[in-house]
């Protein structure tokens, strides 16, 4: 198992009150497997991903009966040990390249920096590695992009550069948190296809986090649907059209569709019973 998480809980305390944002999430991912985590804003999907990298704010309280990455217990890792895993063995692609790339460094410098953080080699080797990585993410003119600053490239190009940076240390797992939400639909599909191909070629595992259920279903093997910190269901992506949970059905149903005009869109009826924790 590449990722094995049992009963993950993330809580925040303040003013004497305790709020559990993630309540009992179970995830498992085999090598080369692709898992989608889908949910609305506030469902805890990003928190779950960040907990895996231990990138949560210090006031967050994480607990889990098991939280392992490739046999390594993440709960007991120190920050120093985490730094080797984070970036090195787990890559993390964030939503908006505008904010996640350093605006005052060229793209080449940033990729080379991430390569040198996890490999040993000269500056020249790092630069060559960066060029090679930009080629791998299908940038047409990699030599030019290498010396460009993030504001000089388009959003899709920036996201490709971001992916190149994450691939530099050759990770085993790629976590992509809404990697395409800030991009146009046509670029969205391109980036996801690229991620898909790279994951395939490099035998990586992929965790794709998104609010877009149909989109995720095209690129993942399994989809885990979250609502208010709880997992509603986990379902094979191919069976999504037959999903039975009313929340999943509701999410699929309430989107306007080009090929089926409707006078009014069905509105999701939320049921408090979905959030009840069934005692084991």
């Amino acid at each position: 198992m590449l990722v094995d998480i049992q009963d993950l809980r993330i809580a925040f305390e303040g003013n004497g009150k305790r709020f559990e944002a993630v309540r009992g999430v179970n995830l498992s991912l085999a090598p080369r497997e692709k898992l989608g985590i889908v949910g609305e804003s506030g469902s805890g999907k990003s928190l779950t991903a960040r907990a895996m990298m231990k990138l949560l704010p210090p006031q967050a309280i994480i607990s889990a009966t098991r939280m392992q990455f490739d046999g390594v217990d993440l709960l007991t890792r120190s920050e120093r040990q985490m730094r080797r895993i984070r970036g090195g063995r787990m890559g993390f692609v964030l939503q908006d390249p505008k904010y996640s790339l350093n605006p005052v460094k060229t793209i080449g410098t940033q990729i080379a920096e991430s390569w040198r953080a996890h490999n040993t080699g000269s500056r020249k080797m790092a630069r060559e590695a960066a060029l090679d990585l930009l080629e791998q993410v299908m940038i047409r003119n990699p030599a030019k992009v290498l010396d460009a600053y993030p504001h000089e490239v388009s959003g899709g190009m920036g996201q490709r550069a971001m992916i190149a940076m994450m691939l530099a240390p050759d990770p085993d797992l790629l976590i992509a948190d809404e990697p395409t939400s800030a991009l146009d639909a046509s670029v969205q599909a391109e980036i996801l296809r690229l991620i898909d191909a790279l994951v395939e070629r490099r035998n990586m595992g992929l965790i794709l986090i998104s609010h877009d259920l149909p989109l995720v279903s095209h690129f993942c093997d399994r989809v885990s649907v979250m609502y208010m910190g709880r997992q509603m269901e986990e379902i094979a992506a191919a069976d999504l059209a037959q999903a039975r949970h009313p929340y999943t059905r509701g999410l699929l149903n309430c989107m306007p569709a080009l090929n089926q005009p409707r006078e009014t869109l069905p509105v999701l009826a939320r049921d408090a019973a979905w959030l009840e924790e069934t005692p084991l």
Binding site: A185, A189, C254, L258, N259, L268
Partner: protein, 253 residues
């Protein structure tokens, strides 16, 4: 046809770069016209010029047959109001909903502020308790309802909608789209809606214009689009992409 909005030869340039290169369209009273395109196609720029938020345009923009100039009068804004994409960015963070909604009434020295604020909240199906809260205390969908209520408080005839649901979850998007459709029916409003999402445009609008690189490459009715009658390759691309993304069982393009 009773034309509400008439745009002809609209050109918008920022310095040397022309971002809208001659756009013509008109919208009938009570109709909903959608403008769809990718980022950078100039769709929002057109909308901002209609709203008078952009002064670098040339050409003709007329509401109810009366051409408007670069500067708009106060009376103009009682007729035309705009709703922006991100309700977080468009509502004043340090003002209560009550203050946000009464701004227009105070500026225009309208009476019965209390009644009109309450009516506007009821119009967008928000509970009266929302009135004395701050924007950060509301959810994204509620904030967008407030933004719509603020536009409605002027009792306008035209609503300009710039990606009104793009920042929202799909379930909340459905609620806001239903609200917009309902308001248009009840109040007889005319909409111009800009979105990158073809399915959203097709849901709400009967007619649409497709923009690419600053030009409106095709105008067609939603019905024609659904029947596969789009002629321009860009429209066809957008439609094919939209269809492939909305199905859950078919593989991606």
């Amino acid at each position: 046809m009773n034309t509400m909005i008439d745009v002809a030869g609209l050109r918008i340039a920022f310095g040397a770069s022309e971002v809208v290169k001659g756009v013509d369209f008109n919208v009938a009273r009570g109709a909903c016209f959608g403008i769809v395109g990718e980022s950078g196609s100039g769709k929002s720029t057109v909308l901002r010029a209609l709203a008078g938020l952009n002064r670098d345009w040339s050409g003709r923009i007329a509401f109810e047959g009366t051409p408007v100039g670069l500067k708009r009068s106060g009376a103009f804004y009682t007729k035309v109001q705009m709703v922006f994409q991100d309700p977080f960015g468009s509502l004043h963070p340090a003002q209560t909903i009550d203050r946000i909604l009464s701004e227009f009434l105070l500026v225009n020295r309208t009476g019965d502020i209390d009644g009109r604020v309450n009516r506007a909240l009821a119009e967008v199906a928000l509970p009266p308790s929302v009135r004395f809260r701050f924007p950060h205390q509301l959810s994204g969908g509620q904030r967008q309802r407030v933004a719509i209520a603020r536009a409605l408080i002027a009792e306008p005839e035209v609503l300009l909608l710039d990606e009104p649901t793009s920042a929202l979850d799909v379930s909340v998007q459905a609620e806001v789209l239903n609200l917009l459709a309902d308001l248009r029916r009840r109040l007889g409003l005319t909409y111009v809606m800009v979105s990158h999402n073809l399915a959203v445009i097709a849901h709400l609008c009967e007619h649409m214009g497709v923009m690419q690189h600053g030009e409106m490459v095709e105008q067609l009715s939603t019905r024609t689009l659904r029947e596969g009658g789009a002629t321009h390759p860009h429209t066809r691309d957008l439609a094919a992409l939209s269809l492939s993304l909305e199905t859950v069982d078919a593989p991606a393009v």
